[in-house]
Symmetry: C2
């Protein structure tokens, strides 16, 4: 492995609470790998748009996909600047004052330009996105058809300019406030999977795969 350059640039430098920021690839990659839904920002006619979308990470690339006739994907494929933000909300931080109340979270903000995934890697990139959502699913699916590949636009954004921002732990109150009789602490939050709901048209004897039964983040 070659030495890993920092993802820090003036545009990705965390100014508010700088001690919460980091710029090393492994930290950024770990936060990206813990999720599968990003908020993708782009500009059209001077107006920003923020769209929730699935993604997959592979090495130094983020893949996103959508309909081949989507206006959004079409605009992105032209190489306009984008921002991809991934946020894991880990808890409500209840301080004794509103001012110090906060949230625990892990987030990544990544800047770059999208490009079309070359044809010879397109299906592979679709698999990467699918696997990021549910490991092992791709092999169980009905194989993808050529017309489905053609109807899908797949883009890649390099992981070159990004920041991670992380807050953990208890509230940090003003020293005199610790003596107040106010409950303080953290309500931990996690995205939890409930019991899988079979499709009403599923044959009753279809076994539920282990990766579906045990999905977790």
């Amino acid at each position: 492995m070659s030495p890993v350059p920092s993802l820090k640039t003036p545009r990705t430098t965390v100014r508010r609470m700088p001690k919460r920021g980091s710029y090393d690839f492994d930290t950024v990659a770990a936060i990206l790998d813990a999720g599968f839904l990003c908020h993708l920002g782009f500009v059209a006619d001077g107006q920003p748009y923020v769209v929730p979308t699935a993604y997959g990470r592979e090495e130094r690339l983020i893949y996103v996909h959508g309909s081949a006739v989507s206006r959004t994907l079409g605009a992105l494929a032209e190489g306009v600047p984008v921002c991809i933000t991934v946020t894991h909300l880990d808890g409500l931080v209840l301080a004794r004052s509103g001012f110090h109340s906060s949230m625990n979270y892990r987030s990544v903000m990544l800047l770059g330009r999208a490009e079309v995934v070359p044809a010879d890697r397109k299906v592979h990139a679709m698999e990467v996105i699918s696997e990021q959502i549910l490991r092992g699913r791709w092999a169980d699916l009905r194989p993808i058809k050529r017309k489905e590949v053609n109807a899908t636009a797949v883009l890649q954004i390099p992981i070159e300019e990004a920041s991670a921002k992380v807050r953990t732990g208890p509230p940090g109150d003003d020293e005199p406030d610790y003596a107040l009789p106010i409950w303080a602490g953290v309500i931990p939050l996690t995205l939890k999977a409930g019991k899988p709901i079979p499709d009403p048209r599923l044959a009753a004897d279809t076994p539920i795969p282990a990766n579906v039964k045990r999905w977790r983040r």
Copy 2:
């Protein structure tokens, strides 16, 4: 109540899967009220940025807050166009093909310009954000200080141009695929609160309030 105008404009019209889109205020407000964390998009030097931030809704306004010296809030206060997106991920939709696999979600995308909340409503707006995160917390907190109010920038964005997009229910597969022996259905997802973790410096006899113990979304 006066008749409610639609929030639909050419810019907020849902093009992909138009049947999933709606534009009535009550649908949009219900999705906003179910959350407290948005992804706020804005443009600086042609580059979009997407920042996760807390919000509160009151009638036809969204409030957001931040440090008074934040570059982001400063830029927003000048009335640049913003996009506020709120996404609730409700489930993984596992179809028999990758092409029809999807997610269940409720999301709102709101376009507008931010303005500074007038001084006489500033503390009230901070209360609205706090209450959106944890109902009843504001009254339990140590009262806010003037210097804390001054150190906080509070902005409002009118709810005038927006769309809601919602997907629910089982996968919609290609008709022949229903006969395949592939498990299909939905893995429901929810943001779940764990057992509250008391601040290590909390006096042992401090009772835990009911709203903290029973927080849920």
